[in-house]
Amino acid sequence: MKRTQIYGMMAEFDTPDSIVHAARLTHAAGYRRIDAYSPFPIEALAEAMDFHASGVPLVVLIGGILGGLSGFFLQYWIHVIHYPINVGGRPLNSWPAFIVVTFEMTILFAGIFAVFGMLALNGLPMPYHPVFNVPRFAFATKDRFFLIIFSSDPKYDPAETRRFLEGMNPRSIAEVPS
C-alpha cells in the first residue's frame, strides 16, 4: 500500500439522516478536517460539522456597495464634470434621475459578486479532485451520501479511522488516493 498518497478515508451512507448523524459523531469524536457530500443541500449537515457560510454575504455586500458607487459616480462624472450641459439652469447633479441606473448597477455588481464569489470561495472551477478517484463517488450526485476524513487531520490514522467509520454502519468504506 502506498501510504503517503492517501487523501482521506471515505464512508458511504444511504440516507440524509444517517449522514447527518455520522457527521455529528465524527465532529464530536474530535475530527476537524472532514467533509460530507450530498446530492442536494442539507442544512443540518453543514451545521453538524460546525460550518457557516459567512464569507458569501460579505462578498455580496462589497459588490453591492461597489456597484452602487460606480453607478452613481459614473453618471455624476459624465453629467457634472466631464460634459456638463446647462439646460435652463437646472442643477447638473440631478440625482433623482440617477437613481435607476445606480440601483441597477448595485444589483448587477452584487449578483455577479454573489455567483463568482461563491465559486471562488468554493475553489471552483476545479478540474481535478481526489474524491472522484473513488468509483462509487459518482453516486454522490444521485442518491448516496459520503463522509470523508482527510488524511491531513491530526487525528487521522488509517486503521483507527477506518474502525471509527465502520462503527457507524456505512454502506461502504474506501481509501481515497490523491
Binding site: P16, D35, P41, I42, E104, I107, M118, N122, T141, K142
Partner: protein, 457 residues
C-alpha cells in the same frame, strides 16, 4: 411532513406524486437528456421553429439593407411593432424570475419543478426582447453607443432619459437571469456528468459543472449565494418592467403620462409570463410524461396567479378609463373616446375580452386543473397582452394633441415576419434547451421527497 399532511387535508394535488426516490427522480429527468432517443416530434417541432427563425433572419437581413422604412412605422406612430414586441417579450420573461426568485423567498416549494424551464423561458424571451430596440435604432450597427464608453467624440448617453435607464435595466436583468439560471444548473450538470456514458457528453457536462462535488461546505455557500441572488432578483424584476413603463410614463403623450403605469405594467408582465409558462408546461409534461412532477397543483397555482394579476390589470384599465373622465383633461378624455370609438376600437374591445372577460372562467376550479382549457386561455391571455401593448403604443401615438398631426399605423409583412420570427427563435431555443439540459431542477426535486427530511435530534 407538515406540507404534505396539509395537502391531504385540503384535498390538494401533491407537488410530486408519491413513490419516487432520489434515484428514480434523477433517472427520470436525466434520461430525457442522456438516454432516451430524440423523438420525431422533437425534430418536427424544432424543424418548424428553425425555419421560422430563418424567416426572422431574412426579415432582419432585409431590414439592415433597406432600413426601418420597410416597417409600418412613420410619424406620428414612430414606435410601432418593434416596441410592442419588446414590451411583450420582456413581460413574458418576468414570470420566470418571479417563479425562481420570489416564490423561493416565499418558500413555495411547488416552484421547484417548474423554475428551471421558466428561467430558460425568461432568458430566451429577454433575448427576443433585446433584439427589437436595437433593430429599431435605424443604425443598429451603432447600438454600442447606448453604453457609456470612453470615446474620442466625448459623447455620452443621457442618463436623465428613461431610454438609457432601460438599457441598464434590461442588460442587468439579462445578466442576472443568466447567472441565476446557470448557478441553478451547476449541481444538475454534475449529475449529468456522472450519469452520462458518452465521453463527449462527460467532458462537456464536466467542464460546465466546474468540478462540483456536492460538498456540504459548498452547498452551504451555494444556498447562501442562491438565496441572496433571489433577494437581489426580486426587486430587480419589479424594477425592470417599472423602468419599461417609465419609457412611456415620463413622456407627455396622452395615455402614457400616468402614475398607474409601473404597477400595472408589472402585473401585466407576470400575467403574460404565467400564460407562457402554462403554454410551455402543458405540452412539455404531456410529451415527456412528466405529469408526476408537473401536477395539477402547478396548473392550479399558476392559474390562480394569472387570475390575481389579471384582476390587477383590469383595475389598471379601470383607472385609466376613470382618469380619462375624472381628470377633466380634454386630451385624456379624447384618448378614452378614441379607444372606444376610434379606428382601432375593435382591438380595444378584443383586448378587454381577452384580458378581462375570458380569464374570469379561471374562478372555476375545474378549468384551473384542465390542461386543454388552460392552454387555450393562456393563448388568449398572451394575445390580449400583446394587444394591450399595441393599444398603448399605437392608439396613444396616432392621435395626440394636434389634429393636424394625426395618422394611422398599418403593419407591413416585414413587421409580421420579424414578430413571428422571434416566436420561432424563442421556440427553437426552448427545443434545444429541452434536449440538452435537464428541464426540471433535479437537485431541488430531491429536496421535495419525503426521504429528504432529516429528523430533528
Amino acid at each position: 411532513m407538515d406540507d404534505r399532511a396539509q395537502d391531504v387535508m385540503n384535498k390538494q394535488a401533491p407537488v410530486i406524486e408519491p413513490g419516487y426516490t432520489f434515484g428514480t427522480v434523477t433517472d427520470k429527468i436525466s434520461s430525457i437528456v442522456l438516454t432516451r432517443p430524440t423523438s420525431n416530434g422533437w425534430f418536427l417541432g424544432f424543424g418548424i421553429a428553425f425555419l421560422v427563425t430563418m424567416g426572422l433572419l431574412y426579415a432582419v437581413g432585409y431590414l439592415f439593407v433597406r432600413g426601418v422604412g420597410i416597417w409600418g412605422v412613420n410619424i406620428p406612430v414612430g414606435w410601432g411593432f418593434a416596441i410592442v414586441n419588446f414590451v411583450w417579450w420582456i413581460g413574458i420573461g418576468h414570470a420566470g424570475t418571479l417563479i425562481s426568485a420570489i416564490l423561493l423567498l416565499l418558500r413555495q416549494s411547488w416552484r421547484n419543478s417548474i423554475n428551471r424551464f421558466a428561467e430558460a423561458m425568461t432568458l430566451f424571451a429577454v433575448a427576443c426582447a433585446g433584439m427589437f430596440p436595437v433593430l429599431h435604432l435605424g443604425r443598429p450597427w451603432l447600438a454600442y453607443w447606448l453604453f457609456p464608453y470612453p470615446n474620442t467624440m466625448s459623447v455620452w448617453p443621457q442618463f436623465r432619459s428613461p431610454l438609457v435607464w432601460d438599457v441598464f435595466a434590461v442588460s442587468t436583468y439579462a445578466t442576472i437571469s443568466l447567472l441565476f439560471w446557470f448557478i441553478g444548473l451547476i449541481p444538475d450538470l454534475a449529475t449529468l456528468r456522472d450519469r452520462s456514458e458518452n465521453r463527449a457528453a462527460q467532458i462537456i457536462y464536466g467542464m460546465l459543472a466546474m468540478g462540483w462535488r456536492g460538498s456540504a461546505q459548498h452547498w452551504a455557500r451555494y444556498e447562501m449565494a442562491y438565496l441572496l441572488l433571489a433577494g437581489l432578483a426580486t426587486p430587480l424584476v419589479l424594477s425592470v418592467h417599472t423602468v419599461v413603463s417609465f419609457d412611456f410614463a415620463i413622456g407627455i403623450v396622452p395615455g402614457w403620462h400616468t402614475t398607474i403605469f409601473p404597477p400595472y405594467f408589472v402585473a401585466g408582465a407576470i400575467y403574460s409570463g404565467f400564460a407562457m409558462v402554462l403554454m410551455l408546461a402543458i405540452p412539455i409534461r404531456k410529451f415527456y410524461g412528466l405529469e408526476d412532477f408537473i401536477t395539477d397543483r402547478h396548473l392550479n397555482n399558476s392559474a390562480k396567479v394569472m387570475l390575481a394579476t389579471g384582476l390587477i390589470v383590469a383595475y389598471g384599465y379601470g383607472i385609466e378609463a376613470f382618469m380619462g373622465w375624472y381628470s377633466g383633461n380634454r386630451t385624456d378624455a379624447f384618448l378614452l373616446w378614441n379607444r372606444l370609438h376610434g379606428p382601432y376600437a375593435f382591438f380595444y374591445y378584443l383586448l378587454l375580452t381577452c384580458n378581462i372577460a375570458i380569464p374570469q372562467v379561471l374562478w372555476i376550479k375545474k378549468v384551473r386543473t384542465h390542461p386543454g382549457w388552460l392552454f387555450l386561455i393562456s393563448g388568449v391571455i398572451l394575445m390580449g397582452m400583446w394587444l394591450e401593448r399595441f393599444i398603448i403604443v399605437v392608439v396613444s401615438l396616432h392621435r395626440d394633441f394636434l389634429t393636424s398631426s394625426w395618422g394611422m399605423f398599418y403593419p407591413t409583412r416585414w413587421d409580421w415576419m420579424t414578430y413571428i420570427g422571434t416566436i420561432g427563435f424563442f421556440l427553437a431555443c426552448m427545443f434545444l434547451f429541452l434536449r440538452v439540459l435537464p428541464m426540471i431542477s433535479i437537485f431541488e426535486m430531491r429536496t421535495l421527497l419525503p426521504e429528504a427530511e432529516v429528523k430533528a435530534e
